[in-house]
Assembly symmetry: C2
Homo-oligomer: 336 residues x 2
């Protein structure tokens, strides 16, 4: 069944040309107020809905943006999408969601499929396993792209992030101030700027405060949860750290389980702080100190800048904000 009411229907009914109808619907200056009113009225009466495919084809605009993210069952990304959606909805844009599941090949498949003009712009948070950047190079040449949170170097595009370096530095200092002497680091996102900046903050803080450091205090994130659990357990047993900084939320909870298993008390035996947007952080046993990123605002800002590009509004590089995370001190890093 073909579309029931089109511009043709309206045109015939009103005895005017389809061009006039189209222009009236688009509020063109060429059309008299009188005619516009008649068209709009009839359109409403007949429940005319513009065919998006035809419109896209002719105008080369889709009123759609794509959001490519590594996962969605994660409070950070859920909140970021909320921010993105708010901006998109206000502008009448549609939002396509693509989940890479931290898999670079899937990411490539998605970016390739978006080269065809399906969307007007793209928001990306890069998969943790992405090393080769060719697919992004091609993409940013063809379509407006804004990266958010998970960003990469050597790609010429706008990037919206939080203060990864500073917040990790501050978190490390927080542990030092609370008496930690051996602070371990759970290292994730090591391929991305995000991960590199975070660990740099940790390393610099250790150096500035003359604390113990060393590669054996650093545990790399692994894709396998059981492996992560074992690695963390080994770290705690063999290195006996008295503080842990987790660069992602997913590695904080295993720490709790390991401490349960080993009979260690948080924060007395081991203090823990983690990047996290968990709403239940205050209710954990003990409540979890967090570096909480402004996820919603990151989403909003990213979408905002994407639309600035789409609107061809000029802006300076120094308008691009680096958003502030907040350090929330709770019992997991509490004194005794």
């Amino acid at each position: 069944m073909r579309q029931n009411v089109t511009v043709k229907t309206l045109a015939k009914e009103l005895n005017i040309s389809i061009g006039t109808v189209s222009k009236a619907l688009n509020d063109s200056y060429e059309i008299s107020i009188d005619t516009k009113q008649k068209v709009l009225e009839l359109a409403k009466k007949l429940k005319y809905e513009r065919n998006p495919a035809a419109s896209n084809l002719r105008s080369q605009k889709t009123k759609t943006i794509a959001v490519i993210i590594p996962q969605i069952a994660n409070n950070f990304f859920s909140l970021a999408i909320n921010g993105i959606e708010e901006i998109a909805r206000k502008r009448g844009y549609h939002v396509l969601i693509y989940l890479t599941h931290e898999n670079s090949e899937i990411e490539i498949a998605f970016t390739d499929s978006l080269l065809s003009g399906r969307v007007d712009g793209i928001l990306i948070s890069v998969s943790s396993s992405t090393e080769n950047l060719d697919h992004f190079r091609e993409l940013v040449n063809k379509i407006p792209v804004v990266f958010f949170d998970r960003t990469i170097e050597d790609i010429d595009a706008i990037k919206i992030t939080a203060d990864d370096y500073e917040s990790t530095y501050d978190a490390t200092v927080h542990l030092i101030n609370n008496g930690c002497k051996r602070i371990a680091y759970l290292y994730a996102l090591s391929c991305l700027n995000t991960g590199k900046r975070r660990i740099a903050g940790y390393r610099d803080a250790l150096k500035d405060y003359d604390m113990e450091s060393g590669e054996n205090l650093i545990v790399n994130h692994h894709n396998d949860d059981d492996q992560n659990y074992e690695n963390i357990k080994n770290l705690i047993i063999s290195q006996k750290p008295d503080g842990i900084i987790s660069s992602i939320e997913e590695l904080a909870l295993p720490c709790y389980y390991v401490c349960n298993e080993l009979g260690l008390n948080i924060p007395n035996d081991l203090k823990i702080i983690s990047f996290s947007n968990l709403s239940t952080a205050p209710l954990l046993n003990p409540s979890l100190s967090t570096i909480t990123q402004p996820a919603f605002e990151i989403g909003r800002e990213a979408a905002g800048f994407l639309f600035k590009i789409l609107d061809q509004k000029p802006f300076d590089a120094d308008e691009i904000p680096k958003l502030k995370s907040i350090l929330i001190k709770r019992d997991s890093t509490g004194p005794l």
Copy 2:
């Protein structure tokens, strides 16, 4: 800038007609293997990407589905989207996300905008504030729709849900078995089947076990978080329940905060169980007993049935599963 390489480009290069190219790309039986190979090869070489708008316009298919949900910063919906995305990606479909923010007017705006043929099918979880169903009636007449989790009566469409009645019944019995005498109920989604079935399970269990009941043991969910907190606090103070069943995750955490404020011990003074997909439920203080819905599977099933409709595969009504939630007993309902 118009599309750089189209069927026309390929046709010219290979000295064949546009129609042949199109058919070759669609693997039509009309085209020889030889020609298909040539076309596919050149397409790959020139990085031809089919123009979706043109394709949609002509074929009246969009290879896109819409997912309309009330919120996304919620583990249930995140997981459901994961399930939906898995199915959609396997079939090469694109997924549009719409968040109603539990607002019926926004919901109506979305459903109306989807009448224009932007998508091939729709998955919906109804907003809690939706009472008037006219927009759904119109929608299901025009486009394949599958409802999931948050469903409504009087609409002729496939509905994928979990065993809301049975699981709430079982949870109530669990509290009774653990010694509760006055069991309160935090009542949400009261406009929807989902909410009605849940509370029916609670009520029937109370009746079957000759337990105290009454409207003053029931607290209605409110859109304002502070109001919910106050209502729960009032409930606990004035009614002194020894058990609480929360029909949604969002109301369970305020119970914890209220107990903290009032100095009540969970589970000794008050046992709590809640519908929830929180990954941190085991780590809360105390760990939270939950009715956990198979969110991922609900998403998968819903998407699966939508594609059955799109494929015009016939199926029986009794093929539609009612998925089983699991009752996870933890410390918040533990004996002493």
